[in-house]
């Protein structure tokens, strides 16, 4: 033992952690926003699509869900730019990766949500003379969103934790800040204690807030 906790150096570099936390949240919010669009479009397409389209969407979902996130991050950042003659910075690359990643999980969430909308509601929509388009946007979609809210919150919290993987391509988010302080000050235990607390407080704070939103919009 003989390790003495000394948090002074952590507080001196706290801007690295605070800025990192903000960036982590930004990455998570951007990625889930794009992921929701991907998920909604593909799930809507899936429920009405033919066999070929279903197979393609299914392949995308299965592929992403069965490959480690860190490999996808490397693939998009180191593999694609040279092959496709593209150029983008690390944060952009990571947001693109995490969006495609979350999109695959959200397709499944929205697909089962769409199927969970009670038949009777759609029939009722038909009975009062709504067009198929209106039935979708005014009946099926709103109900599906309310049904899937809890799963959406869980996905968001886990994406927030997944942003830590951005540190492997030197995106200065929270885990990267932790490593920077680890290697530059060697206050190792202290920095990870502080960072653990920051992830926990933010994660559970978000979860609590999202649960309130869910309760407000719960399907009764």
């Amino acid at each position: 033992m003989g390790y003495h906790l000394n948090f002074n150096l952590i507080w001196r570099h706290f801007d690295k952690l605070w800025g990192g936390l903000i960036l982590s949240l930004e990455l998570a919010v951007l990625s889930i926003a794009i992921g929701i669009v991907i998920g909604l479009v593909l799930a809507t397409w899936y429920v009405s699509a033919g066999r070929v389209a279903r197979a393609v969407i299914g392949a995308y979902v299965e592929f992403i869900r069965n490959v480690p996130l860190i490999l996808l991050v490397y693939l998009v950042f180191y593999g694609l730019p040279k092959a496709l003659n593209l150029a983008y910075d690390a944060p952009t690359s990571f947001v693109a990766t995490l969006s495609i990643y979350s999109g695959a999980y959200l397709v499944e969430v929205f697909r089962s949500g769409l199927e969970a909308v009670p038949r009777g509601q759609l029939d009722a929509g038909k009975a009062i003379g709504l067009t198929p388009w209106q039935r979708f946007f005014h009946v099926r979609l709103p109900t599906m969103i309310r049904i899937t809210l809890p799963a959406l919150s869980n996905t968001f919290i886990s994406l927030f934790k997944d942003t830590s993987v951005a540190s492997v391509i030197a995106v200065p988010e929270l885990t990267y800040g932790a490593q920077w302080i680890n290697f530059n000050t060697f206050r190792i235990v202290e920095v990870y204690l502080v960072v653990t607390a920051m992830y926990l407080v933010t994660g559970y704070g978000l979860l609590f807030a999202l649960r309130l939103v869910e309760r407000r919009f719960r399907v009764r």
């Binding site: 592929f63 069965n66 860190i70 993987v165 990870y192 653990t196 926990l200």
Partner: protein, 216 residues
């Protein structure tokens, strides 16, 4: 591209075995420890229940990557020397234990209270109730999510490459360090991970179908 892949395969094979070893160790150890703690969480005395609850919520609330760095860099600082492989397995196991604890809690909670009450009514002891009534039914609820979670362990094991453990992920990066052509190798790696995990998730789907109902 084919030539590169053939060149890489022998290097990747060893890494693949390390990936399997890390995942296998994590799954087996966390199954044993997680079931014990999970039963403790449901039936244990209050201090034990609290301790397991805090452990599980804390571990599941932070990124695995932070946990891995904490264990690898933090434990030597307080005087506990661990090599990269052991640190990686320890960190991933801690994470998996927390998951298994929740599967066990969920599985036991899903058994109707009437089952335990009926067992009590016919005079079974606590141990006999668990052994003959609760566990046989809870196992069926526990297995599908657990087997499904094995793919998480395989995917999570790719993070140990960051500690310099030469698993599949690290082996891929080493080959790229020599060939300077990233895309074919990352695609190959993705296919290998996909095949392993797809096989595992198909297995879990079959288990789920088989155990979808509770027989007599």
């Amino acid at each position: 591209m084919i030539g590169q892949i053939l060149y890489a395969l022998p290097f990747l094979w060893h890494g693949f075995l390390i990936t399997l070893a890390v995942s296998g160790l994590v799954v087996v150890i966390s199954l044993v420890v997680g079931v014990a703690l999970g039963v403790g969480l449901v039936y244990g005395p209050l201090p034990l229940r609290l301790a397991v609850r805090i452990f599980s919520d804390t571990i599941r609330g932070i990124p695995i990557l932070v946990l891995i760095f904490f264990v690898y860099y933090g434990l030597p600082a307080i005087g506990l020397q661990l090599d990269a492989f052991a640190a990686a397995v320890l960190a991933l196991t801690l994470f998996k234990v927390a998951q298994v604890v929740e599967y066990v809690r969920g599985a036991i909670a899903s058994i109707p209270a009437g089952q335990a009450e009926a067992a009590k009514a016919i005079g079974l002891t606590f141990a006999a109730r668990l052994r003959y009534v609760i566990f046989p039914q809870a196992t069926r609820r526990f297995l599908p999510p657990f087997v499904n979670g094995v793919t998480d362990a395989v995917k999570g094991s790719a993070l140990v490459s960051l500690l310099g453990v030469t698993d599949l992920m690290h082996a891929i990066n080493q080959v790229i360090g020599r060939t300077y052509d990233a895309l074919p190798l990352y695609l190959l790696g993705a296919v290998i991970y996909f095949l392993v995990n797809y096989a595992l998730s198909s297995l879990s789907r079959r288990l789920e179908r088989r155990y979808a109902f509770i027989r007599e």
